[in-house]
Assembly symmetry: C2
Homo-oligomer: 410 residues x 2
């Protein structure tokens, strides 16, 4: 018998603690169980609360009925998504904005979280990644699992091989070109968690930079539907030259309430190449080998997002959440907090009170106001001293949460 | 400006050709477009044709209605799946068979293809994999992408670092313990594509072998519902000691017709460890970081699979397909073919006519009988000289296909 045995991916052991939102869920559950009488208001994870729009519900019922009948039953979906959905995406999200994107550059998936986690697989291990700090934890964590991030320093809470681009009130939350040249640049704009974004001109600067240094931008546009300002781009392909340097990830979770429905897509332009290797072909191969398509019913639901009724209903839904954003932003400002975001995104980013870390403020709000938010430090070291509240709650709960926070004083 | 640029995962470039079923789809589409008058019968990919059972349709409609109302709306699912589904799985698929599996050892996913492709991620790159030959292509391809398979030899169509376990008529399709010791052993039983399987006693031998050499078995039980013989195990956990050496992957695609619905699960026992590292904890971390749960509606559909009505209806559905299997098996046998499988699995594995490769037979059947099957060589070098037909067609089409094949003569 050999002493040798199966070996695990040791990169997993390098990950400090658990996934941020799992940790929060555990803390909240423990508090709720110990205090069953307290009514919690959850403005923590970015989960939506409003029901699916009627046009979407109707499309789903119709699709379920199709699955009940041999003549209209749908088995395996086409690898990269149904043509009806990919066409609707191209027409509405790209051609309508004069972005030159073709149907075979759209890859339908089960959500932007999967895409953000999986996209790094098509790149070599020795690429250097750059991320905004703070940012959605999946970018870094998935690269840790792949062994691309070097060693972790518990004091600074940073990885030796990750390039951090701090986004704080000191630089108006606008990432600056890093001193070291990155290979993969993750940009989430409008940003999660800060709720801030950059102008189209500034984004053009990033596209030019990436083309200049032959890097690829992974552009997470999950919050695009919340953009209200004219000078902000809805897609990176509004910028000249983005087809040769950018992959765009889109979600249906936030614009259409699909967090529990699961649908997203990635755009990988055919002009995006490393030498003569097409990233579009690589991603197609990844999809074909390790994924089997989003459910037919869900893809029909996605199509309904682009119907005239769907668009009108979802415009109202986005407005509902942005009214919450205004409630939080104004309420906190009146209470004396320093507040950012909430204009082009459903997130409010606040400075924690003097001398209170972001996890301390998490506990404070949880225990004293029974309001759940997300500690900024969970999104990266530059998130320390900040705290995220989401506008995705019910209106009444949002009002009530702000009332409780105001009562606490500052 | 640097000369250096972003680098791709070069393992992808090692993959010969495209994913098997994508290649077949392209060939069939090309033939259909050139011959629009021909009525094709598809017994190629393992896609089902019968509609979803009434109990499942009812559950889905109900779940869609819940999503239409704020009080019953469901956002993000729990990372690892809803408790209602995980409990139903444990009760019906494990406790009912005296298998000791707990709810927190079940990981609900969007399907067994994703799980089969992703599971290798939690293991180190320097593990040696062993696969049955022929077998479902995803096991090898996903390990190629991860850089675990060495170099490809185009003549033998094998990878230098993969241990192949030939399953041919010469050994009654029963894999033998390999000479070199593997770290990860992929077993798909009942087997895709051969439609054959092994007895519970033989499987116990594999469990003992894996425990002895400290290897992990990835046990793909996607076709479990088609087992008709008493001496065949429905789960690897029916074997003693499997909790310390086996991960089981299950699909709802074949037992419940979910190919276009997308649902599966993985079982990772807490006793499965490498040193003191828990694979259960690693897979939980992978799920939490790179996946966001299967849709609520789909998980409710999965729950209905285990209802009394659902079970009765699906028993009939499985019987429907197994009647097709008998039609194919008997028809081919009468036509003079040598035929395997079709007793514990919905696949028929036939010897191609003397002097005809499996791709030549594919073209022959496509062009002369307008019947689509799958060439054995696509599943591995030992699949050469064999051909797969599936029992998942409509009964009438299956009868018609066999009529056409019989007319061709042998």
């Amino acid at each position: 018998m050999r002493i040798d045995m199966v070996k695990v991916n040791e990169n997993y052991q390098k990950l400090p603690g658990s996934y941020l939102f799992s940790t929060i869920a555990r803390k909240v559950n423990a508090y709720s169980e110990a205090n069953p009488d307290k009514k919690m208001i959850r403005l923590g994870i970015g989960d939506v609360t409003q029901p699916l729009a009627p046009a979407i519900i109707e499309a789903m019922h119709k699709a379920v009925d199709e699955m009940a009948c041999a003549e209209t039953f749908h088995g395996y979906a086409p690898d990269l998504g149904y043509e009806f959905l990919r066409s609707a995406i191209v027409k509405n999200d790209y051609l309508a904005r004069n972005c030159d994107i073709a149907v075979d550059e759209i890859f339908v998936s089960d959500g932007a979280k999967s895409d953000s986690g999986n996209i790094q697989e098509i790149f070599a291990k020795n690429n250097r990644i750059a991320v905004c700090d703070p940012v959605y934890p999946v970018y870094v964590d998935s690269n840790v699992m792949a062994g691309r991030t070097g060693t972790y320093d518990a004091v600074s809470e940073t990885w030796s091989d990750v390039i951090y681009m701090p986004c704080t009130m000191e630089n108006d939350f606008v990432p600056e070109f890093p001193r070291e040249t990155p290979d993969l640049i993750y940009l989430c704009l409008p940003n999660n968690p800060t709720g801030t974004t950059i102008t189209k001109d500034a984004l053009q600067g990033w596209v030019d930079y990436a083309n200049r240094c032959k890097a690829v931008i992974i552009y997470d546009a999950a919050y695009e539907a919340y953009i209200s300002e004219k000078e902000v781009a809805h897609s990176i392909y509004e910028c000249e030259g983005a087809r040769t340097c950018a992959i765009e990830l889109k979600s249906f979770s936030k614009n259409a309430g699909f967090t529990g429905v699961r649908l997203g897509y990635a755009v990988v332009p055919k002009d995006l190449k490393c030498g003569d290797v097409s990233l579009n072909a690589m991603w197609a191969r990844r999809h074909g080998t390790k994924f089997n398509g989003a459910p037919y019913i869900v893809q029909r639901a996605g199509e309904a997002v682009y119907s005239e009724e769907g668009k009108a209903q979802l415009k109202e839904q986005v407005a509902y959440y942005m009214r919450n954003a205004a409630v939080i932003k104004n309420g906190l400002t009146e209470a004396g907090y320093t507040v950012f975001g909430g204009v082009n995104a459903p997130y409010i980013w606040l400075k924690t009170p003097e001398g209170m870390t972001s996890w301390a403020f998490f506990d404070y709000l949880l225990e004293r106001a029974n309001v759940v938010g997300t500690p900024g430090a969970g999104f990266g070291p530059s998130g320390e001293g900040y705290f995220r509240l989401t506008a995705f709650g019910a209106y009444e709960n949002t009002i009530a949460a702000l009332e409780r926070i105001r009562k606490l004083g500052l």
